[in-house]
């Protein structure tokens, strides 16, 4: 196994006036594996935390929590997973001490930097404008003592040739190059120390399609020639389709689904992946698409349980509806669409985390009917477990949310959605 991450989390503290009071949960409990010589795609929208995962894997950022094992034999990894499942701390530590990237000091890390490198999105800011290309490409070789300065110079020229640039470019400066040429230089730098793992963070997003195709073909050629493992981070699903074998889909800091590329793209299982795939415009095809409402959530106060539930077209009882979410929709229904039934004077408010009070009506019957009628359209109403009546108001109780886990689906895929959990999810009595 090239790299394996378990429970990777990265919380960014938000600076308050004196100390950090809250944190942005950019990456939360992410697991990810890349086999030797494998290309794995990590897809997600902006703000989903996919770049943060890439940076945490090679410790450009220090994760808040989790474990990253690098270049570990499969037998040891199996051992580790067994220990993890059994929560055998000692055996866990024994293996992790040898392979964990997170337990390395920065001086121990330096020789390991030879084995993994990264290519960034924006080729305009990833190359120092005041360095010659030869120096840019030589930097990793010299910093990791991969070879001598003279050898580095020779190898820099070879690498320029390898990525399809003329050798006399070695004396040029980045501003003399086009975007595509710069990205070639960034790739040359990244492969200069013969790494086993390459993180590609949106490698073609800043480029035009015609140049993007050149870069994709270059990457594919290098991968086949040197057998480099690659993690391809991108928002462009078609790019993943072109290069990757496996794909992870990320949303709001969590992995939603992963599996074989062909299967995930052709037959997505998770409701988010389905919506994502149907959102991608495809030339020459008119399709019915699932348009998600709303926007990705605020990760300082992420939604309860499943982070996708507020936008999910099939979210149900226990997906994580909070009292606030239900109140918003209920208020809108009672004062708008069902105004004729309830009239003025109805007031909806939360009472604690899982209860809602509707002042001004004691007609539980009508409210139950309304909920039953509208809940297919307005999914938050599914979160309502029971409607009670008190002397002057109606009390609404909500279901307890269940945090989804990765559940196995067909074809060896894993999906983080309660729809794939086996066993009863909703308590039988719902009235």
């Amino acid at each position: 196994m090239m790299i394996a991450a378990y429970g990777l989390s990265k919380f960014f503290p938000i600076r308050g006036a004196f100390r950090s009071t809250a944190s942005l949960k950019a990456v939360d409990d992410v697991g990810l594996k890349i086999q030797n010589e494998q290309v794995v795609g990590l897809v997600g929208e902006s703000g989903s935390g996919k770049s943060t995962v890439g940076r945490c894997l090679i410790r450009l950022l220090n994760p808040t929590d989790g474990e990253v094992l690098f270049d570990i034999p499969d037998s040891e990894l199996a051992e580790y997973e067994k220990a993890r499942a059994a929560a055998a701390t000692e055996r866990l530590d024994a293996i992790a001490d040898r392979f964990s990237l997170l337990r390395r000091s920065s001086s121990e890390l330096r020789p390991l930097r030879r084995l993994a490198n990264i290519v960034f999105q924006d080729p305009y800011s990833s190359l120092n404008p005041r360095m010659r290309l030869a120096d840019i490409i030589s930097e990793p070789m010299l910093s990791t003592q991969f070879c001598s300065r003279a050898e580095a110079g020779i190898r820099a020229r070879e690498l320029l040739h390898e990525v399809g640039l003329p050798e006399f470019f070695e004396d040029r400066y980045p501003h003399e190059l086009s975007g595509g040429q710069r990205q070639r230089v960034a790739i040359a730098r990244a492969i200069s120390t013969n790494p086993k793992l390459l993180i590609l963070d949106e490698p073609t997003s800043a480029l035009d399609v015609s140049v993007q195709a050149q870069i994709l073909n270059l990457l594919r050629g290098l991968q086949q020639k040197y057998g480099i493992s690659m993690l391809l981070i991108t928002h462009n699903i078609a790019v993943v389709a072109y290069l990757a074998e496996y794909v992870y889909v990320m949303y709001a800091g969590k992995i939603m689904e992963w599996g074989d590329k062909r299967k995930v793209l052709r037959d997505p299982q998770h409701p988010y992946t389905k919506a994502l795939m149907s959102s991608v415009p495809v030339i020459g095809e008119t399709m019915t698409r699932t348009v998600l409402r709303g926007d990705p959530p605020n990760l300082v106060v992420p939604p309860l349980a499943c982070r996708f539930h507020p936008r999910c077209p099939v979210a149900f009882e226990v997906c994580g509806w909070s009292a606030d979410e239900v109140v918003e929709d209920l208020e809108y229904l009672l004062a708008g669409k069902y105004y004729g039934t309830f009239g003025d004077g109805v007031h909806v408010a939360t009472e604690g985390d899982r209860t809602i009070v509707v002042q001004g009506t004691t007609d539980a019957q009508r409210i139950s009917e309304l909920v039953a009628r509208e809940q297919e359209e307005i999914r938050s109403l599914k979160g309502i477990k029971a409607v009670d009546v008190t002397a002057d108001a109606t009390l609404i109780h909500l279901h307890e949310p269940i945090e989804p886990d990765m559940y196995p689906s067909t074809d060896g895929r894993e999906v983080k959605c309660l729809l794939f959990r086996t066993g009863a999810l909703v308590p039988a009595a719902t009235s």
Binding site: P111, S126, L127, N128, T144, F168
Partner: protein, 312 residues
């Protein structure tokens, strides 16, 4: 062939820089005046005789103690063909009658040298502090920036005078006092430049490549921070000379120091203004203004050169 196109590309860049600078007319005028000042300073240092300057380090000849009998009782002479800038009397009792042009030529050397010294040393200290503070961040940044804030919040005149009266009122101490005032400016500027450079992903690339912190600071941050700092230096030289001669004018340098400095000369001339003699004050003052203005105009031109928007 490759090298030919290479050097041509480099030359084109240089020519473009020249073109941008030359298109700013006032900057060219500034540069011309600046070169005159530098030329004067250089000649006084290397070959004072060419300009007819004697004893360049002192207002009056060294070991000069007695009253010059030729000067007793004569008033300063107004500018004429013999004395283009006129003359002044050193001391009301007439210790010596001196050619003002010669004095100004001597003073320019000292003023230019000292102001460059102040700005360069201040910029060196400040930039290092700023870069370190900006790059490492966190508590180090907090601590260093609070220290610079303290220096910032003290009124510069009072600080300079205090320094002068504690460690003595000499030319070098005056320069030291101004360095203390000047470095925090560069610390802040250097810090803000570092923070913006740090955002660029080439810094992250360098970390991914295994480069250490020192290497990142010296190979990646410094080369990107220095050009704007250099422009700032060229702008500041003019401001420093103003403050510097102001201090001398209000008497930071003791009157027996006999240093040829523009502010000090103007303050000698102040004694004669009451008699209706304008030139001993106006001429040194005008020279200071001219230098300060020239340097500012030139700095504007340099700023255009490094500004990518102005280049296109």
């Amino acid at each position: 062939m490759a090298t030919v196109t290479e050097s041509k590309a480099r030359f084109d860049e240089l020519r473009l820089s020249g073109k941008v600078f030359l298109s700013n007319k006032t900057a060219v005028v500034g540069l011309a005046i600046f070169l005159v000042f530098i030329g004067d300073a250089f000649l006084v240092q290397v070959a004072p005789g060419v300009l007819g300057v004697q004893y360049p380090d002192s207002v009056v000849p060294p070991q000069f103690t007695q009253t010059n009998p030729e000067c007793v009782g004569t008033a300063p002479e107004a500018p004429s063909f013999n004395h283009l800038f006129g003359t002044i009397q050193y001391g009301l009792s007439g210790i010596g009658c001196l050619d003002l042009l010669q004095l100004v030529m001597k003073a320019i050397r000292i003023d230019v040298a000292i102001s460059f010294f102040i700005v360069l040393v201040g910029a060196a200290i400040g930039t290092v502090v700023g870069v370190v503070s900006g790059y490492f961040g966190r508590w180090l940044d907090e601590a260093m920036m609070r220290v610079t804030d303290v220096f910032f919040s003290v009124p510069f005149l009072i600080l300079a005078l205090a320094v002068g009266f504690v460690i003595g009122r000499t030319l070098v101490n005056m320069a030291l006092a101004l360095i203390i005032i000047w470095w925090p400016l560069y610390a802040r500027y250097g810090r803000s430049l570092t923070l913006s450079t740090k955002e660029a992903t080439f810094i992250e690339s360098a970390r991914a490549a295994g480069s250490g912190r020192l290497k990142i600071i010296f190979r990646h941050i410094m080369p990107n921070v220095l050009p704007p700092v250099l422009v700032q230096i060229s702008l500041d030289v003019g401001t420093v000379i103003l403050i510097f001669s102001t201090l001398a004018f209000i008497g930071f340098l003791p009157s027996n120091a006999l240093v040829p400095e523009l502010g000090a000369i103007a303050s000698i001339g102040l004694d004669f203004v009451a008699l209706g003699d304008w030139w001993p004050v106006i001429i040194p003052g005008a020279v200071i203004t001219m230098f300060s203005l020239a340097v500012n105009l030139m700095g504007d031109g340099l700023r255009d050169v490094i500004d990518p928007r102005r280049r296109s």
